[in-house]
């Protein structure tokens, strides 16, 4: 009987899957008809005309209908069967996993310290500048920003959408003070950090009473206000045109140029731009590691514990006598300070800054990094930064894609599209980010990672 009953059941499933696929296709058709089916283009007389893209629309609809069909035919029953199966008890991590966990940080450190050497030996002096600058320095700036924001978002749980404002404060502080008063990079670095921290407190004060989503929007508003002021306060910031000719960092007073008293001549080396790039790489590496070290240490101090408690439950925090005002303000100040460091480094490295570098999208990229990596996890944020920024840089290099999709195919324009999509997917799939385990800041006898299920419940 049971054998005879199964074929009709599966046929019904096919009918159902077909129907669901058709409905999904119909919805996709409605969704994509205007924006994919038609393209608005300017003709020679600058009038707007429509072009049709029916094949592309058909492809979109077919992919969605087919995906939905396969989902309800194969994936959904399989998921149902899997849900019925008894769950295996939580497995203790294998010894090699604990071993791996212990070695991963020293290994990663070794890689980043020796990375310029590898680049130099593989592609030579000329080619290495690009690899160290575009990949190394660029990624490390974002790693540092991500780790700085991690204090505010990951530890204290305050979603800050205007983080780039502090980055801008750091960058403009360095640019203006170095240009107008001739102060050196090493003097201005702490000063820029202090100024950004001060701004963190200043902007933090008014938003102390706000809850999660309100706080996010107000910080976004502050970020935009600072950017608009930078654009319009032309006498000081030079508006859209930005500030050019910002003094470059020196090797403790020795400039990196081809002159006689330049770095190369003093040390008896042949002049090459690579020395400055190497110097910048190790400076930002040191700054990023400083951020990480301070974050790790702070987590063990009362203030770090207060941050994490605040993230989990503000009311409970207050009932336990934690001063939430100070806790929030210190989080803003610390996060702002690291952004200020990164900003002054950015200005020194570029030699040119303009408000274009400090848009909301920049904040969104850093927030995406913290969220995707796993809020509160330093390694997760670093991995997210490497994938997101390194991925963008690699996309620029992929020339073969142009051969597939045609010459006007520009892979980097899909960057933010992918980031946005990834943020939604990660929230659905792993709301606590890619790295879901957390290191406990307090241990009894032995160190155990806090597992995903506990982090999900909010014990991270």
């Amino acid at each position: 009987m049971a054998v005879e009953a199964s074929p009709p059941a599966s046929r019904v499933d096919i009918v159902r899957a077909l129907r669901e696929g058709a409905i999904a296709g119909l919805i996709a058709f409605g969704l994509f008809l205007p924006l994919i089916g038609f393209k608005t283009v300017q003709n020679i007389r600058n009038e707007i005309v429509l072009e049709t893209r029916w094949p592309l629309l058909a492809a979109f609809v077919a992919i969605i209908a087919g995906g939905r069909f396969l989902h309800s035919l194969l994936l959904a029953p399989w998921l149902e069967r899997r849900a019925l199966r008894p769950r295996p008890a939580a497995v203790q991590p294998a010894p090699w996993q604990t071993e791996l966990r212990r070695w991963i940080v020293p290994f990663a450190l070794g890689v980043v310290i020796t990375y310029p050497m590898f680049a130099l030996s593989l592609v030579g002096f000329q080619g290495a500048v690009k690899w160290i600058d575009n990949f190394g320095v660029q990624i490390l700036i974002y790693v540092m920003l991500g780790w700085g924001l991690n204090i505010v978002v990951g530890l204290a749980g305050l979603l800050d959408l205007g983080y780039v404002a502090f980055y801008a404060v750091g960058a403009y502080s360095y640019a203006l003070l170095a240009k107008n008063f001739g102060l050196s990079f090493w003097m201005l670095l702490p000063l820029a950090g202090t100024l950004a921290a001060f701004w963190g407190i200043l902007l933090g004060f008014p938003v102390l009473r706000l809850r999660g989503d309100y706080l996010a929007i107000v910080t976004l508003a502050f970020g935009e206000i600072i950017r608009i002021v930078l654009i319009n306060w032309v006498p000081v910031t030079n508006g859209y045109a930005g500030i050019t000719g910002i003094p470059r960092p020196t090797f403790f007073g020795i400039p990196f140029n081809a002159n006689e008293d330049g770095f190369a001549a003093r040390f008896g080396l042949e002049f090459s731009p690579i020395y400055r790039t190497l110097f910048l790489y190790y400076v930002i590496l040191a700054l990023a590691l400083l951020t990480a070290a301070i974050t790790v240490r702070l987590r063990r101090l009362p203030i770090g514990r207060a941050w994490e408690a605040l993230r989990e439950d503000e009311i409970a925090c207050r009932s336990l006598g934690i001063n939430t005002t100070n806790t929030k303000l210190t989080a803003f100040a610390m996060g702002g300070m690291f952004a200020g460091f990164a900003g002054s480094f950015f200005a020194a490295r570029q030699g040119f800054i303009s408000p274009e570098s400090f848009t909301f999208m920049e904040s969104a990229v850093v927030v995406a990094m913290v969220v995707l990596g796993g809020m509160g996890s330093l390694i997760g944020v670093a991995i997210a930064a490497i994938v997101m920024i390194g991925g963008t840089e690699i996309m620029r290099e992929l020339d073969f894609l142009k051969q597939i999709f045609g010459n006007d195919f520009e892979p980097t324009q899909y960057r933010m599209l992918l980031f946005g999509f990834a943020m939604v997917l990660i929230m659905i799939w792993r709301p606590r980010g890619l790295i879901t385990t957390r290191d406990p800041s307090l241990v009894l006898k032995e160190r155990k990672a806090i597992s995903k299920s506990l982090v999900d419940e909010g014990h991270g």
Partner: protein
Amino acid sequence: MDVFTQQLINGITLGAIYGLIAIGYTMVFGIIGMVNFAHGDVFMVSAFIALITFLVLTTWLGIGSVFVALLIVLIVAMLLTSLVNWAIERVAYRPLRGSFRLAPLISAIGMSIFLSNFVQVAQGPRNKSIPPFFNEVIVLMADPDGYDVALSYKQIVVWVVTAVLLLAFWFVVSRTALGRAQRACEQDQRMAALLGIDVDRTISITFIIAAALAAVAGTMFLMYYGVVSFYDGFVPGVKAFTAAVLGGIGSLPGAVLGGLLIGLIETMWSAYFSTDYKDVAAFSILAITMIFLPQGILGRPDVEKV
């Protein structure tokens, strides 16, 4: 005085558009307690849908009457934008109910980035403008020195359409079973479910209504300014959110009132101070309201429960 009257007219027009978007924020916040960060971009998408529909109607089908075209554009934009917002809610927000506190907001931010960049990639980054129409104006106060106070046909259309749709919307929310279900879900979702209300469906319908009103705003925006770009969702979105907060988030008349206030403040600021800092004015109002009057003008004070 002339300038003031003219700015009053302009401000109310702009405020009507903000008010329509603000209702979307306030309704969604009321029912699921989430700031729908992507709502401004839904508005932008609706303006693009309206643009493309308008072009199809006028250049392909050759509809000569602008009124007929505008009516069809409005209906198509409302339908398709509703579909878009329904799909967004289904894909990006519904699976996150009961997830941790910031998850829906982050998902909405992701959706906002996705939508604006999707439009940028699909339609190109340049400003899209339509040929001007409805250029006639009614001169209210003629001035021999040259500054006439004028009410344009476009502004009348914006006012009439907004007023009619707000009335229809108000009727739905306050007089129908659907509106009752919505208000019930706003108060207590679990209790509403126990009494036989399909909560998921009610939330979906809320998103659909929000999108339909955003589509009205999008169509009006396109008609009024004649130009739209992929970036036009962000700043109007934040301003409309400001309007919702100013009026008292969760309160529907508050959203309209807030929209009108923000529109007026923005145009007056531009006329009497500086256009450069008009966004700063709106953003500052947002911050000031949240700090000193978090419940807004018409909102109820928020009681924090453990």
